[in-house]
Amino acid sequence: MSIIEIKNLTKHFKVLNRREGLLGAARDLFSTDYKMIKAVDDISFEIQPGEIVGYIGPNGAGKSTTIKMMTGILKPTSGMILVNGQIPYKNRQRNVQNIGVIFGQRTQLWWDLPVIESFKLLKEIYRVDQQTYDRQMGMFNELSNLKALHSQAVRSLSLGQRMLCDIAASFLHNPRIVFLDEPTIGLDVSIKAKIRDLIKELNRTQNTTIILTTHDIGDVEALCSRIIIIDQGRVLYDGDIKRVHQLFGGFRTLKAHVVPFLGDETVEQVRRVLEDCYGQSENLTVRSRETGWVNITVNQDKMPLLEVLNVAMSNFEIKDVQIVEITLESIIRRLYDGALK
Amino acid sequence: MKRYLHLTKNTYMVGLVWRFNAIFTVLSNLFYIVVIYFLWKNIYGSQATLREMTFPQTFIYLALTSSLFVVFKTFVDWQISRDIISGVITMDLIKPLDYQVSVLFRSAGFMLVQLTLIALPTLVILLVVFHAQMPIGINLLFFAISLVLAYLLSFMIDYMVGLTSFYTQSLWGISTAKEIIVLVLSGALIPIRFFPDALRNVLVYLPFQAIYNAPISILTDPILRTPDYLNMLGIQLLWVIAILVISRLFYAQAIKVLTIAGG
C-alpha cells in the first residue's frame, strides 16, 4: 500500500492584477480582474513506505506547493491526495502527528532554550512514551553525538549543528514520513556528509519514508534511489536515478581553455565551427560557465569525442583541457529542453 | 546645509507614501479628542470656569496638545537604538555630517508630514468651530517660533533617550517612562493650572512645559500679550540651549562606549 498517493493533483492560485496608488488599492478590493497561476498542474505519483525520494526542480516549479499540499497546509484545486491513508488538509493536527517536517531555513526548535529542553518539549507535544524517547535519543547520540550539544542554547549553535538537531528532532516521534527541505544548504562538505549519513541510517533502521527537496545534487546522489523532477507544475521525470544516468551517462563535457578568450564571441566561434562539421543536434552543445573556459558537451555514444576535440584544437588555440562527467544539473537542464519528450 | 535638507526631503517623501498609516493616526487622534471632549465636559458639569479656564478653552488646549504630541512623535529614540544595535551608527560617524544634526533633519521630514497631514487639519477644524474663542493675531507668528523651539526641545530629549541604547537594550522602559514624565509635567495631559499650587510652581521651572504648555498657550490663551509671548519664548530658548549643551556632553560620553567595546 502506497504511503503517499497523488492523482491528477492540481493547484491554481488566483492572483490579483494589482493597480497603482491608493485609489487603485481601493478599487482592488472590488476587482474581479484575476490572473490564474497554475502552480501545480495535473501531477500523479505514488510513494512506497521506506523510499527516499528526491523531489527536484527549479525555483517556482511548484515543489513547495506540492509539499504544502502533502503536509495539509494547502487544499488542492482538484485531484486526489492521500498521505498515510488520510486526506492531509482534513484534521491537520491528527496528520501532523505522524509526519516530520523541515521547511525553510528557520529552526523549529525553541531559539533561547538548551537543545535538550526542546527535545523534552517535543516529547510532551507528540506524546512520545519514555521508551521510544530514550531509544531515539540514544540513536541520535550514536549517529551524530548529539549529547555534546544538549546543554547549548539553539541560538548559539553553528548552522550545521543546528541542522543536525532539527533533523533529529523531526525523527523524534518516529514518524512514518519525513519531509526535508534543503537540509544541507549553506553547509560545508564534512557536515553535509554527516547529515547525509544520519538521514540514511534513520531511514534504514526505522523504514521512514523520506521526501527530499534539494538543489544539491550531492544530496540526491548520496541518498535517493528515485527522483521526481518537476517544472512549471508538471512532472518531467519520475523514476530511477540510474535510468537518468543511463540516458545521459554517455554525455561528457569537454572543458577547453581557449586563448584569447573573448567571452560570448569566442563561444559563438567555437559553436559555429563544430556545427559546420557535425550539424546542430542535442548531442552537441557549446556554452561557457567560467571565464576562459568553453564547455563542449558531447554525447559520446553518438559522436566521437576525441575527434571533436581534434577539430577544436586545429581551429583554436587551446591551452588546457578537462573531461568531466555530466552533472545532474546539466541533465535537468536538458530535460527542460525536452530531452525526454 | 543642503546635505541636511536632502535628508529632510527624503523622509518627507517616504512619510507621504504612508497614507494608510496617516489615516489611522488621524483616526486615533480623533478618538482621543472625542474622549477628551466628553471627559472634560463631564468634569466641568454645570460650572462655567474651573481654575480660570472655560470648558472650550480647556478643550481646545488639550486637543491641540494631543495633536502636537502626535506631530512630535518621530520615533527618534527607536531610530537611534536601531542604529546602535545594528552597528550602522559607525557609518554615520564616518560621514562628514554631525550625527545629531543629521538625525534632527531626518526626523524633521517625518515631523513635517505629521504636521501637514494631522495637525493642520485638526487646527483648521478647531479654528472653524471655535473661532470666537481663539485669539488670532500676532500670536500666530510667535506660535510658529515657539513651535520650532518646542520641537527642538522634544527632539533633544528623545535623542538622549535614544543614546541610552549605548548602555542598555531596554529602550521600551526608558522611552515609556520619559513619555509619561513629559506628558504629565508639561501640561499636555492636564493643563498646568489644574495642578495644586505647590506643584504648579515647580512645573514652571522645568523644561517640559516649554514643549507643550508654552506653544499651545501662546496659540490659545486670550489673556496673554506680547510681553508674555516674548517671556515664554525667552524661557524656551534658554532651555533649548541648556538641553543642547547637555545632549552634546551626553553624546561625547556615550560614544566612548563604542571605542571601548570595539566594533
Binding site: 492560485f13 525555483n59 517556482g60 516549479a61 511548484g62 515543489k63 513547495s64 506547493t65 504544502k68 503536509t71 495539509g72 497546509i73 494547502l74 493536527q93 501532523v96 502527528q97 517536517v101 521547511f103 525553510g104 528557520r106 523549529q108 525553541w110 533561547d112 532554550l113 529542553e117 523534552k120 518539549l121 510532551e124 507535544i125 506524546r127 542554547a153 | 494608510f20 498609516n21 489615516i23 489611522f24 493616526t25 483616526l27 478618538f31 474622549v35 466628553f38 471627559l39 465636559k41 463631564n42 468634569i43 481654575r51 542598555t168 537594550q169 531596554s170 522602559g173 526608558i174 522611552s175 515609556t176 517612562a177 514624565i181 506628558l183 504629565v184 495631559l189 492636564i190 489644574f194 495642578f195
Partner: protein
Amino acid sequence: MLATLKHYSRIYILIEAQYIKARMQYRADFIISSIGMIFSNVVSVVVFWVLFQTVPLLAGWTFPEILFIYGFYLLAVSPAQIFFDHIWSLRWHLIEGTFIKYYFRPLNMMFYYMSEVFDLKGLAQVIIGISVLVYASIQLHIVWSFWRIISLLVALFGASLVVISLLTIASSAAFWFMNAYPILSLAFKLREYSQYPMTIFGAFFRILFTYLIPIGWIAFYPSQIFLRPSEASWTVYLSPLVGIALFILAYRIWLWGVDGYTGTGS
C-alpha cells in the same frame, strides 16, 4: 476534554518555565521594563488625583469609584498583555514566511503561536492593578465575601476575553493587509479609553462603545456589579458572556486567516 486541558497546561508550563528562565538572565531589562510599565500605569492615578482636587465628582462618580474601575481595567488588560503579546509580531512572521512552522506541530496553532512570548513586565501591571483595586475597595467599604471574590474573578475573566478578542481581531488584519500595524495600534489605544466611565459619552459613542467596539465591557460595565449593584442594569451580569462570544468571533477570524495563508515561496 479534561485530558486535552491537562496536556496543554503541561506543555504551556514547560515552555514558559524555560522561557522565563532564559529571560531572567537579562535582569536589568526586566527591571527597566517593569519600571516603564509602572510609570505608564501610575500616570492615570496621578491624572485622576489631580482632577479630583478641582472637582468632587466625575460624571457622578467619586474618586474611589473611578479608582475601582481603573484597578479593574488594569487587571482586565493584563492577561492579554502577558499571554498574548506575540500578536505584535504576527505581521512579520506572515511576511517573512516564518509563520509556516506553526502548522507542523500537533498543537492548536493559536496556542502554539501565543506560547512563544510571555510578557514579564505585565506582572508589574497586575501588582499595581491589585493595589489600586484593594485601596479603592477599602475606601468604598466593599466587603469581599467568598462569592463576591468568585464573581470578581468571573467578571475579570470575561473582561479579559474582551480585550484579548479585540486585539487578536485587530492583529489578524495582517493576514489580509500588508500594512496592518496601524489597525492594531488603534485597537491598543481604544483599549485604554475603557478606563473611563461610559456615562461620560453622548448617545452615539455610548452605543459605539457598547455594541460595535465593545470597550465598555472591559472595565466599566463589569465594575457596576460591585460599585452600585442596586442601580445596575441586569445586563452587566452578562459581561462574561460578551467576552466568550467575542472570543469565539476572534478565534473564527484567526482560523479564517490561518486557512487562507499560503506562505512564501512556490
